[in-house]
Amino acid sequence: MSHETNSLAPEQLTEQQHTVLVDWLTQLADDEFILGHRDSEWLGLCPTVEEDVAFSSIAQDEVGHAVFYYELIQELEGVSADYLAFQRPAHERKNSLLVERENGDWAYTIVRHYLYDLWDQIRLDAMVESRYTPLAHGTQKMKREEYYHLIHFQHWFARLTGCGGEAQERMKQAMEWVEQDLDDLLDIGVYESDLLSWGILTKPPTEMRSEFYSQYEDLWKDISDLSERMIIFSKQASKGRMGQHSPALASVLENMTEVIRFDPNAQW
């Protein structure tokens, strides 16, 4: 099957397709942007100087991906990527709650990022052959970078959970905190079935989620003394994707727009 001939072109979208696509791209863009922002708050505070350098590269990649998604929205909506990133109020943001949480300790940071990246990989896999070709092309490139992020966090995760003592205690605690936000992360909003039927996503979201949760359960199994733990997921009401956020996002946005607010008419 040729995706080129069957492709959705920006100018041929129906009104409903346009709406669905913008909603989805906004989720992706906001996830990457807010996570990249949170990552950048680690600058100068990482456990080693080497990690400071590495983590900053990852932060820049995430913001770079956000720029890509915002520019796709810009093309569809005629609103600038900068506006989309900086000027929208919290209730218009569609990032998951997980990425807006405060950084916490290094264990939380590693667990959050690792689980986010595991989900992101599944999400990217479902888009590399998207009928929306600009999305297919961009996600193919992103996958190359995300591959290295995943190795990086896999390594941290394995090392910190693999030893005993304080590190493992902190990692267990972090897993429990992150787990509370997983349903929200894996939520795709209200247009799930349209995304699939129009081929914007090429894998059913239910399958994507079960793929994630089976990997997630394996992670717990790897933590030796936690193998008996029962993991129960319940599909909770969607929050982040519907623009319902925690106060943490409001404070991110407040901080982020300080310079712009100083003189809203200025070019910076």
Partner: protein, 307 residues
Amino acid sequence: MDSQRMEEEFVKRVQNGAKIESNDWMPDGYRHLLIKLIHMHAVSEIMGVYPEKEWVPKAPNLRRKLAMMAKVQDEMGHGQLLLRIVEDLAAPYGKGREELLDDLVEGKVKFHNVFHMEARTWADAGLIGWLIDGAAIINQASLLSTSYAPYARILKRICAEESFHMQHGENVILSLAMGTDKQRKMLQDSLNYWWYSLLFFFGPLEITPAAQKMLHYRIRTKTNEELRQKFLAKYVPRIWSLGLTIPDPTLHYDSKLERWHYAEPEWETFQRIVSENKGPKSQERIALRRIAQDQHKWVRLAMTTGI
């Protein structure tokens, strides 16, 4: 050969332009000076992260945000490269990374005066890139001919990256200079705040015994004042061309003496900032560094020992 003869031979070699590698024999005095200089340089790069770090989350658009993140990352990277050099030099004394960074939080190693100051506005963040990195390039480019080869090699890369930073800073500054009244006022305030810190950055007028020794060993080849004059020659015209006022009415080029005349910074006040960590932001930033160093001991322990 007795040690005095070896020392004399060594000095003759470096004065003839020989380059020293980390595993070559070197006088203790030479090693100590290098450790002191490069350790201070390394931690200054790291402490230079903090004033700008505060502005990374506030960068006003996507392009600036990405540029700012990359720039601050470079500074941390410079710190890492320089620490590796000090680690080699300090190995005979049993000092490694952990101890070198502990020295910083314990106030045993100094860092550049400019990084004790507050970055109050976006203009400050831009000015740090433009003029402080500009000053640093002048300083570091003069060290490219240093007799210690590993330092020279790293400086080559640092200078290349710093010149990007300078252009990044200049670009931020140009937007402000060509912007609204509020932006121009913010920029002028920033120059007023930083000017004397910038002059102090190059160090005292007199050639201290330590500086004299560094010249003797060809660790450095230019005096503080020569470098300050270079900075003034390069940047005063640029600052003026943006329509900014330098907060020193006596500043002028003396064509007879062929040097810039300037009002001197309050040497003692600035010196205290550096030697006693008593700048407006010294303690706060050292506390941030302490977070990285102390609160993450468990992480480094887990990664190295598996406990």
